[in-house]
Amino acid sequence: MKLNVLMWLAALLAVFLPHPADCRPDDAPASRRPLLPRPLLLHLGEEFSLRLGGGVGSSSAAPALLSSSTTSSSSSSSSAVNRALLQLTQRLLQARAEQQEEEEGEEEEKGKRSDEPPISLDLTFHLLREVLEMARAEQIAQQADSNRRMMDAFGK
């Protein structure tokens, strides 16, 4: 009888003793370097300005040349981009002024506002597709990185 009780006690102790941690994974996650931002394509800005005004003298020749070369001087491209942004700013300011006039005048009649969008962006489909492809490439790279991190975590 005593032997039985002793054996049961030993068995219960064995159940409730803490198990050694021999299979624990490494808990410290490795610090991740943030991905470097993709450099902005200069020809994107040049073509943007080309579409907007045509008032850019230096970059009016051969858009095909512009799109193939990526080593334009930064000063000319930045001034072209600035001019393009200036034109866009003027349009947006005008639109914004119209919107503010509308807001002040018809605050109580929100439902009867005109159908014109107050803010818009002048962008060609070609530029939109370029920016979209850049975003897709970034997404694929990020997905690959995320997959690699998950595989590392599961494999431990």
Binding site: L35, L44, L123
Partner: protein
Amino acid sequence: MRVMERTFREQLFFLVLCLSVLKGDSRYIENNEISKDELFSFFNSELKREIPEELMYRRPLRCLDMVAVEGQFTFTAERPQLSCAAFFMAEPNEVISVEYDNVDIDCKAGDFITVFDGWVMKGEKFPSSQDHLLPLYERYVDYCDSGSVRRSVRSSQNVAMVFFRIHNAGSSFTLTFRKHINPFPCNVISQSPEGSYTMVIPQQHRNCSFSIIYPVEIDVSEFTLGHFNNFPKRSMPACAESGDFVQLLGGNGIDTSKLLPITDLCISFTGPTHMKIGCDNTVVRMVSSGRFVSRVSFSYRLLDSQELQTIKLNNVEDFCFNN
């Protein structure tokens, strides 16, 4: 005595067996950081989508940008930037939520951050006013008007965009971009020039568009109208009177109401339909009366320059080539 010993031995063996199962070659259930083990986490699928801080993707936001990956994007003005816009894009079956964090702008000086529910280009918006459930003024959400009240904006489709203007150098803001599953997507812009898609309108009286911003060849493989019990309707009127049909549209803008219809597809058509559309924007639009569960399946691929040239030469109406 012997019977009692045998019973005791059986019990002991059983106990030892259980212990050996638990303590032997079994692995511990690993708690990896990808999924959080919360008590009621299966009730709320949003919890599982929370990305831990150290895993969140971060990068600076540019004045003209397109974002297709979840993460935090910070714009810091090195000089006054008066006209900037960032496009957001998700998968066709996802919607977008944009949150403002750490916004340091001067609203009184004229700075603004406005999130738009859709895309706006050259004054045209997608989805068009006819296809969107909200009125136009509700689709623009300005931080300066409602930022303190509403910190998160959710889109109705897989595209959204943000316009911002910063007058003072050094001002900055951070946007957190997340995607959420949308079980019945209605208006979609395709991320790629090739692919296939099935659009379903589950007995709703609304029109849905699938927009491909490339010249493509479309191959509509199936268009069915079903009831909830999946019995197809026997007698169908012709296209225009039925109220349920599929349109193929093409044009040079993103507003589907301003595109020209190329063809209508009715329930009575048999077999696949191939169509080469050489426009900048190709749209498959389904009109639904709400009486049926409408479904259309199609695939599309990019037209190469040779095919585009052929279309240009053969096309009597060159409404897509008037640039």
